[in-house]
Subunit: 181 residues, 2 copies
């Protein structure tokens, strides 16, 4: 950990604590997850029909690229090399999103499926960043907590935007379309 | 769909709609996920040290068994046989929870890891039930929406309880314990 940050921490013991180890492990996990999303979201955009959904996903792709950089900044605050560790949960979530897209008819049904899958991804991140912020606060790392809070805010906003699109148009249209499956 | 529920629906077209197909697919997915949790949560209880955490997980295990039954009731409302389809996301979440338990030292660190993994599971369910409720409402299936809302309420409460345990004791204790890893 850098000297500047050690001062901020005010307690050198926490650096070799069990919680710090868990914090680092979870950072490696979300680093993998965010990077995986930068390749998964473009596939969702390609499969979306609704212009509003494509736009929302495009905006969130840009935010996700920034989330990767923020996690790298948190690693820097810890004076650690940014390392990714395969996140089994995000791997499963992305696999499930792909399955939903394959199983849904193109158009509103697939849009509704993409929104549902996207909200599961957002909630995984909301839970993860929630834990990371609590860990950072307990470890007296306010700078790290602040960076993580910015990301959490964007994940929550993305989740709400997806809800809004589903409620406003996509779900009702999918309820009016007969299925051929 | 049963006659009583058809009356409730008020629109027979929705029964063969794309949204109904998606609703059924998502029900199969959460049915698998809830059943998988009835075997995963006991392993988390076995690994927990904190009495309060064990108790909270034990309570949620009972609720999860009820969630399985509620999903079966929703299938009944649809006049469909309850069918489980492997939920890749929950499979990944459970795999990740196992990894966290294996990687953490026994005691407070593992407790903190169990809480973090548990909250990811809860958030997956919060997102899924959120989508299912919206689907049920759009399909005019108020009876189904009500059953799903009861479960969503319990998932949210379980998530909040885990946050409370982390904040009140576990995280601080884990920050005070040196790691041997």
């Amino acid at each position: 950990m850098k000297t500047t940050d050690m001062k901020d921490t005010g307690n050198t013991d926490v650096q070799s604590s069990q919680l710090m180890k868990l914090f680092e492990d979870e950072l490696k996990d979300i680093y993998w997850a965010e990077k995986a999303l930068t390749t998964a979201i473009p596939k969702m955009i390609k499969n979306a029909t609704s212009h509003e959904l494509s736009e929302a996903l495009q905006k969130h792709l840009g935010e996700t690229e920034e989330h990767v950089r923020r996690v790298e900044k948190v690693f820097e605050l810890l004076d650690k090399k940014a390392t990714a560790k395969k996140c089994e949960a995000m791997s499963g979530l992305i696999k499930e999103a792909k399955e939903i897209m394959d199983d849904c008819e193109e158009g509103v049904m697939r849009d509704a499926g993409i929104i549902s899958a996207g909200q599961k991804v957002e909630h995984y991140e909301i839970a993860t960043y929630g834990s990371l912020i609590q860990f950072a606060k307990t470890l007296n790392m306010e700078d790290a907590a602040e960076l993580l809070r910015e990301t959490l805010k964007e994940e929550k906003a993305a989740d709400e935007k997806l809800s809004e699109i589903a409620l406003k148009t996509v779900n009702m249209e999918a309820a009016a379309q007969p299925t051929s499956l």
